[in-house]
Amino acid sequence: MTMVPQGGGSAVGRGGGSSGTLYDVLELILDRGLVIDVFVRVSLVGIEILKIDARIVVASVDTYLRFAEACNRLDLESGRKAPAQLPEVVGGMMEGGAHGKSKGALSGAVDAVTESLTGKSRGDEEPDEEEEAEEEPAPRRRRPPARRAARREKE
């Protein structure tokens, strides 16, 4: 274990070779860990909102329509080279793994939450921490359908 005891912690910041970020371990820090019932939890106003991102289910008309639209706009001929398969381990469906999330459709909420975490919108007083925040998920979110569509119409 290589610890660099300076700044904002290692596994959280940029744990050697891993791509973990504060955002990814936030749920662990906030929701897991030992709870001792005679202790009092400080108010998590401003941080609490981070927890709302999880429980949104895939089954909604909005989600259906968004999926349909994304399909309609999809360029079906590209991207054949990357089959996301895991042949030898994809067995049936078992133990409640990832439940109910649609992609993309939820990103707005998550981004908002991420912003509130990273404090970008609040003008955090600790600029050196902002660099780590930049690695966090907001830029990763994919909203490609619109762009695709525009390109297709030109063709």
């Binding site: 912690g9 860990g33 202790f39 259906y64 895991l86 990832a98 939820l106 990763r140």
Partner: protein, 238 residues
Amino acid sequence: MALYVYAITGKDHPLAVGDVTGVGADPSPVRALACGPLYAVVSDVSEEIRPKRRDLLIHQEVQERLMEGGPVLPLQFGYTAVDEEVVEQALRKDAEGYLANLERLDGCAEYHVRASRNEEELLRQILRETPETRELNDRIRAGDPDPQLPLTLGRAVAAQVQERQDALAAGLTDALVPYAREHDVRPASGDDFLNLSLLVPDDRREEFLTAHAGLVRQLGDGVEFRLSGPLPPYSFVR
């Protein structure tokens, strides 16, 4: 004076947290409070704490430094006790349980794996492999005005997305769990389809990381993995 409580360790822990200052607007040094066979790792805080991002990072940093010296029971973020007396009583009361936990977690660290799929790739794959969705999609693109079509297509695609994500999550879990002493699967959030924590013994760490890297390679660009760790065993304290 109120205390912020970070973690519990055994009495034999070296407690080398260095010069970390604690959480709060007016931080005090992080220190250990002896409680029978245990230490509580604490810092003084004023009664009013409005936690900030810095506090989360400090909470985490204290855990990481403690991990270097031996097993640690990380507390959930944000817990305070009104005074030392309360901390001592709480730890003494459940000392047996905490000691058993420390023993159980000795020599292990948590690794946390999240993964998301490239949505376009996934949708393309679904359209390619399920004639029903392909046909619906073709009809809509050809201008069929039936307002039910998008809903039917979307519902079918959503079901496929769910099924494929679940199957892949289960497959990935199966592939990684053999390297862990315990594991914990939680509902994924946002764009992720996998939210998996593994309690990996130190002597299996390399194997685990190799296996993880193998999955990353095997799945290529279609899946984005995010691995965090070694972390204190947040998901495995009881």
